[in-house]
Symmetry: C2
Subunit: 340 residues, 2 copies
């Protein structure tokens, strides 16, 4: 940090609640994400809202803060938007809470806040309330971000990991494992012939397209982040008390991602995604849903990867490329710490 003068980094005093805090908020945060609601700087944002709302929160502790295809700001906005979107909700607004380690270079904070702005614009949403804390050097790791989000759930839509039914088809919106492999490659300093970038993206537009095509046929939806596709499918199987049978050959993995995963000793099924979703839908709506997915830039590699069965409730079974089936278990311990 010796190359950074006191003007170039966040200081403990920026978390005081006083003059320096107000300057940090005005010059380094509001400068990027200003809007009429946030700018009031009241203790809460006030919004109109009629109907059913979805409410979610996630903390982001990804390391490194900047990685190929994104940064902690982009992932913090995408992750919370995606948790709303997979419930079928249209994101309404976000909150943004920063925990900054003293010494964080302002140039890093600027990159992150610029990314928060850009990702919010991409998703058509605003940050309406926030908070900033600063902790002493060595008591955090650069920057942690917690976002919460509110979304509007249309009509009487009910999408939940509890609602998968035997006979349903399981759709995957695209290639898997890119986020986790991008982070691990950045962390290990690996280079491949092609740079693997995170798939980090806001999925609310994709979900709108899906619900436009199939307003009532989607039963369950989830974004396979920590623990990867395997863990998400296990959660749906367990919460819906159904079995899920998937075909290994139907799961799209980019060639360079598969090669990198092999090199790192990782199974792509367990590696985090940040711009993909799994949808479980009634069989007679599956083709229409696949067509809708293919019509959106974020769903071009979508496939039907399997189906829901009444056998083996709570279990996920994979038909392997070789022929036999095997049990796909939930991840047990820690595969990739601080991936999001």
């Amino acid at each position: 940090m010796s190359s950074n003068g006191p003007d170039d980094v966040v200081l403990l005093a920026h978390g005081s609640g006083g003059v320096m805090s107000h300057e940090l908020v005005a010059k380094r945060l509001l400068a990027y994400i200003s809007n009429t609601t946030l700018d009031r700087l009241d203790d809460s944002a006030v919004l109109s809202c009629h109907g059913r709302i979805a409410f979610t929160t996630d903390s982001y502790v990804v390391s490194p803060l900047l990685f190929p295809g994104g940064d902690i700001g982009r992932i913090a906005v995408c992750g919370t938007i995606n948790d709303l979107a997979v419930m079928g909700a249209q994101p309404l607004c976000l909150s943004l809470a920063l925990i900054i380690e003293e010494g964080l270079p302002f140039r890093t904070l600027d990159v992150v806040m610029s990314s928060v702005h850009d990702t919010c614009a991409e998703a058509g949403i605003h940050v309406v309330t926030g908070d900033t804390k600063v902790v002493n050097r060595g008591k955090a790791d650069g920057l942690f971000i917690t976002t919460s989000g509110i979304g509007l759930v249309p009509g009487d839509l009910d999408i939940s990991a509890r609602l998968a039914q035997p006979g349903d088809r399981v759709l995957l919106s695209g290639t898997i494992a890119e986020h986790g492999i991008a982070i691990m490659s950045a962390r290990e300093g690996l280079s491949f012939s092609t740079t693997i970038t995170s798939d980090c993206a806001p999925l609310n537009g994709l979900v709108s397209t899906m619900l436009g095509a199939v307003p009532t046929g989607i039963h369950a939806m989830r974004d396979p982040t920590r623990g990867g596709l395997a863990t998400t499918l296990n959660e749906i199987a367990s919460q819906s008390d159904v079995g899920i049978v998937i075909n290994e050959a139907a799961i799209p993995v980019r060639q360079e991602v598969r090669a990198a995963a092999d090199m790192l000793g990782l199974d792509p099924l367990y590696v985090a995604n940040e711009g993909k979703l799994v949808a479980v839908a009634a069989a007679d709506h599956a083709d229409a849903l696949l067509k809708a997915l293919h019509g959106h830039p974020l769903g071009q590699d979508a496939t039907i990867i399997g189906e829901v069965v009444s056998d083996k409730p709570g279990k996920v079974i994979m038909r392997t490329r070789m022929g036999p089936t095997r049990l796909v278990q939930m991840i047990a311990g820690e595969l990739l710490p601080r991936i999001c």
Copy 2:
């Protein structure tokens, strides 16, 4: 940490998203704060909501995690409830996001979660959605908590730090500086003849009582946390573009708190509170509001501490006990790091 076996502390694998994460959530988190919405463990909670909502977030990085009169769990619930309450909103639900440092003893987590439960029960609110991340040893400081909250704003109520008007009276709900002094005493290992405890408390009940008595007379309200009463009054003066004149003699400070503040070299005006509020109300409603405050357990020491003037917009002036007036400035740098 040598006295803690691997079964007694949080491990990195508890943040994996897999089996150990699910066990942590079920046994150590849901065990304390279970309710039908949260227990679904969907990506978002879904709630009905009609009207105007208030939305707020705060991260808590208080050190030490446990202190006289509270802990990080209690402060995280109270702080967010209070940010809703001072907007006149009735708290509807909370989110709870934990960032845990590997090695945190489960017994500490249990104390904190038990406190989250008790404080939610005291305020009549539930945690409906949450998230848990674990970071490596040395990359956080035990536990950071971010809570967000949604509240319902009754009718067309509009309370904001922008709406103080000349002629308004400034009310303070009770004695100041207890939270900050309790934390500093705990941190410095100071002991006084009486243990000074944090005033940390949910203020939604107090605000309901106030709005019941004076439905339309309250113009601005804020809880004086980081930066203390001085900073909060400066924020109201600045945002409303008015002057505020306060009487030093009218500001209640407990004798032992004043003594401890003297010993620590702190001015109670700048020391954080976590269970107090400042209300700026029309002069003809001030007595009714004071009476309402006195009728609630959390408002028994309430006083009228001053008034709003058109002179000196953006400034806070104090008539001292000695007679002359002085300018009360916003806190500049860092007085008490990690007080909340």
